[in-house]
């Protein structure tokens, strides 16, 4: 049974996580993260969960490591700035194959008080672990309803692949309120004990997790095989692409805004459509390539200096079609900030 509610993106994310079985939350206060923190501190005790306000982001991710490795379902969230101090913990989660869901709220550029909406967390979320040869799954919701649905999906994926899942969303999306449908009843948690959980070595061999072993090749083999499997598990949304002559590629809140513009552009007779990757890592390659068979003109729109544009260019160049035209509309010297990018988009397309 579902009910209709009016929630902020953060609250939807919290509700989705709790529905999916999250019973442990670690995070530390920052302007953009506080809504998740505040909601969790109320909701988790109601479902016999544990909420801990960590000293800093680095200890939050490490507490998550401890809880998850011993069998808990854990959510951690931070702004992109905070995720930087979590990187080492995230590398451990990848390397030791520990599930965990991490909410990454994209903050504006660097520093303490710069909270203008941007989409600057893309590279960090997608390629942050590639510096140590790992990958993480990254999902990018674009509406408040999707914040709820993707939180549930993220826990499903992280438990299935034993790999951390990052949910990357815009700061504005976490604050704004929308109508959404959520499940009324939260299922009673019945987690099975897995053999890899740390529970004390009773009637079994000890489980020992360490970063260094004399021969790591077998372990890396299984991790790399996992990344291979993940390549086929991508998700993407296509909006009005059936008869489109030009495709806009965007993720997150930008995609939601562009959907509205596409409808008005179509009223003006311009046949454009939207391709929105939901899993931005691994990138929905197959879907994009099959689209490039029909459409020749692509524009990547994002509120950063072209992070996703690099991925799109890489994929489309490899196909080797010379008549493909891929352009970028985002942060340049002349248009800085969400609002300027959107007004430029309106000028060009509507």
């Amino acid at each position: 049974m579902k009910k209709k509610v009016f929630f902020s993106g953060s609250k939807a994310f919290v509700e989705g996580s709790i529905y999916a079985g999250c019973r442990y939350y670690y995070g530390c206060p920052s302007i953009l993260n506080s809504l998740i923190l505040n909601n969790m501190s109320v909701r988790l005790p109601e479902v016999n969960g544990i909420f801990v306000q960590a000293e800093n982001d680095a200890s939050a991710i490490n507490m998550a490591l401890g809880s998850s490795i011993s069998g808990g379902q854990v959510l951690v969230s931070a702004t992109t700035d905070g995720i930087f101090s979590m990187q080492n913990g995230l590398n451990y989660l990848c390397g030791l194959e520990i599930p965990c869901v991490i909410g990454n709220i994209m903050s504006g550029r660097f520093g303490l008080r710069n909270y203008e909406p941007t989409q600057s967390g893309y590279i960090q979320a997608v390629r942050g672990r590639e510096s140590v040869n790992y990958k993480s799954i990254v999902l990018a919701p674009h509406t408040v309803q999707e914040m709820y649905d993707i939180a549930i999906k993220a826990f499903e994926l992280t438990n299935k692949y034993r790999n951390p899942v990052i949910v990357l969303f815009d700061s504005a999306l976490s604050q704004m309120e929308e109508k959404l449908e959520i499940e009324i009843e939260i299922p009673i948690l019945d987690l099975e004990k897995k053999s890899w959980h740390l529970t004390g070595a009773k009637n079994r061999k000890p489980n020992i997790y360490k970063s260094y072993q004399n021969d790591n090749s077998d372990k890396f083999k299984t991790i790399f095989e996992k990344f291979g499997l993940l390549k086929n598990k991508t998700m993407a949304e296509e909006f009005m692409t059936e008869d489109a002559e030009e495709i806009i590629i965007a993720f997150g809140l930008m995609a939601k805004i562009i959907k509205g513009f596409i409808i008005s552009a179509r009223a003006n007779g311009r046949k454009i459509g939207l391709f929105r990757p939901i899993t931005i890592s691994p990138f929905p390659k197959k879907e994009l390539i099959s689209l490039s068979n029909r459409v020749k003109k692509f524009t990547v729109v994002e509120a950063n200096r072209g992070s996703m544009y690099i991925d799109v260019i890489n994929i489309l160049q490899k196909v080797g079609k010379e008549d493909l035209n891929v352009s970028f509309l985002g942060e340049t010297e002349s248009s800085i900030g969400f609002r300027n990018i959107i007004s430029e988009f309106e000028k060009v397309f509507v």
Binding site: S59, M63, L65, G72, N88, L96, N207, I208, Y209, Y212
Partner: protein
Amino acid sequence: MNNLKTFKNINTVYCSGCFHGIINRILGEAIDSLDIRSDCIGVNSSRCSSFISDYMNLDFVEAPLGHSISVARGIKNVHSDKVIFTYQEEGDLLDSGMNELIHSANIGENITVIMVNNLVNTQSGGQMSSTTLVGQITETTPYGRSIERHGQPIKIAEMIAKMSGSAYVCRVTVDTNERIRQAEKALKDAISFQLEGKGFSFVEFMSMCPTYWDKSPIESRKWLREKVMKEFPIGLIKRTNLK
């Protein structure tokens, strides 16, 4: 010799004169005597303390440098009935993880922290740590640690004892048979405090590192007794009977 259940009693990689091997063994014996091997989870981290997981018959997880206490807190949140301990050196616990140590001691987190204090950063090659003695020569203090530049060594056990959440704080060493027995008792007490839910327990081991002290094991032991134990006097520092 053969009735050790927790300590594996195999050859260790520790250098000659290092106390890690003795501490590993008495920790195993303390766990055996309390009969909690299957209810025990350990967290280790960087430096030479990372080898312990090879020698113990326990569930172990390696935490990122300085974050063992956070990982232990995370485990304790899930398994409140299990015994969770961290095994760290001072270069890891004090230099990188001081923040977490002070916070969990203040909260009174029901975990046991075992710190092996050997006055240098060991595995990284013998650099100064926060407990290096004044005048001691290390790789990064080639002219000796100076008070003006580096300050006095941090006496963490006394600091922890002042925190309201700490229940048991003790500083021990393992240079003689008698002191080994005292240290084993301290470990047993610390773990018993955790079992009874009394709060944060902390055991500091004064250890030695002949390799990076640049002394022979015998000279090192002499130096430990004459200099180190004057700066860091051993003994029970705090024991609160809250129950």
